[in-house]
């Protein structure tokens, strides 16, 4: 084989990171990592019991019973969880940093959620949005900076 200058970079992720984050934007966007009690994933009208390792797609609705909670990791390394009696839809998720395409749109219709931002929150915070029936939330910058708008 001809000798050519080659270099390689390798990284290992401990916990869950989906491979192919630019190539395969149509399929898996995340995975269920933590689960307590009863929880389901609804996809195209089909209700699937959630399990640790369940792969998630855009449009999935995550639901928990009154004894349930569920935590997921998305492909941009952000983490998201819902508490008991909750319902949440991942309305959009695009993570193609090479093409500059980043988007996260989540709607919580009842219950509780927590979110820890990942690369989308770092690269393009304005691309991450959270809706509820009463208010919407956007990420504004990533530093201590108080700016109050009323």
């Amino acid at each position: 084989m001809k000798r050519i200058p080659l270099t390689a970079l390798l990284f290992a992720t401990f916990a869950v990171l989906m491979p192919g984050f630019a190539a395969a934007s149509q399929d898996t966007i995340g995975i269920v990592r933590n689960l307590v009690g009863e929880a389901t994933v609804t996809r195209g009208g089909e209700v699937i019991p959630a399990a640790v390792g369940t792969k998630l797609l855009v449009g999935d609705t995550l639901m928990t019973a009154s004894n349930g909670s569920m935590g997921i990791i998305l492909r941009d390394n952000s983490t998201l969880s819902i508490g008991p009696g909750s319902s949440l839809v991942i309305r959009n998720f695009v993570f193609s940093p090479a093409e500059g395409q980043l988007d996260l749109l989540v709607r919580l219709s009842r219950g509780t959620m927590a979110y820890l931002s990942g690369l989308i929150g770092k690269l393009a915070p304005e691309s991450a949005r959270f809706e509820t029936p009463v208010a919407s939330i956007g990420i504004r910058g990533t530093r201590f900076a108080v700016k109050l708008d009323e």
Binding site: L9, L10, A114, V134, R143
Partner: protein
């Protein structure tokens, strides 16, 4: 994308005050900003009914009643955080940890600096058990595509094999090669990019 992924993470916690039955819409929301594991706090904007409030200090919260603008932000004590959102916070997975390793030129042998990180990697794997591992090979865009693909795959396998000799269960590995098609730092073809090595 820089190889440094250290950043200031925003945690936001959102609780809708839900009625006991499932049908009626939530009457209000309680939104809370928290620091990340490193103690850093991001910033979020809460908007409703034409009004907006920005939260940017740890344990700052805001209440919103349906059909009204958000109220003024206020600070809440640690115990109140647990009371409002304990189960959801307990369910939040730890963010993945990423190690970037480098190799000697045209070889599947790690550089001395990268090899020296092995104990740290093993410690992380033990601390975070049970774990899933992704070993992803990348290259820069210099050189032949199939050769780069094979080389980065060989390197990914070498790392997996190294970890396996230290007792990591090999069924945990997901090994992929991105070759030159998906460099960590995007460049044109035949560009020698140090951050992709």
């Amino acid at each position: 994308m820089s190889k440094s992924v250290a950043s200031c993470f925003a945690i936001l916690l959102l609780a809708t005050a839900c009625a006991s039955t499932q049908k009626p819409p939530p009457r209000g929301a309680f939104i809370l900003l928290l620091p990340d594991d490193q103690g850093k706090t991001g910033s979020i904007a809460v908007s409703s009914s034409g009004g907006e409030q920005v939260l940017s200090a740890p344990r700052q919260a805001v209440r919103v009643s349906a059909g009204t603008p958000p109220g003024k932000p206020f600070d809440i004590p640690e115990e109140e955080v647990r009371a409002q959102a304990g189960p959801a916070l307990d369910a939040l997975p730890k963010p993945p940890v990423r190690f970037i390793l480098y190799f000697k030129h045209d070889s599947d042998e790690l550089t001395r600096e990268s090899l020296a990180r092995l104990p740290e990697m093993m410690r992380t794997i033990r601390e975070r058990a049970p774990v899933d591992l992704s070993v992803v090979g990348h290259t820069d865009t210099v050189g032949d595509k199939p050769y780069n693909y094979q080389l980065s795959l060989k390197r990914a396998r070498a790392v997996a094999a190294l970890l396996a000799t230290k007792g990591v269960d090999s069924s945990l590995f997901d090994i992929t090669s991105h070759g030159k098609d998906n460099p960590l730092v995007p460049t044109g073809d035949q560009v020698s990019e140090p951050r992709n090595r």
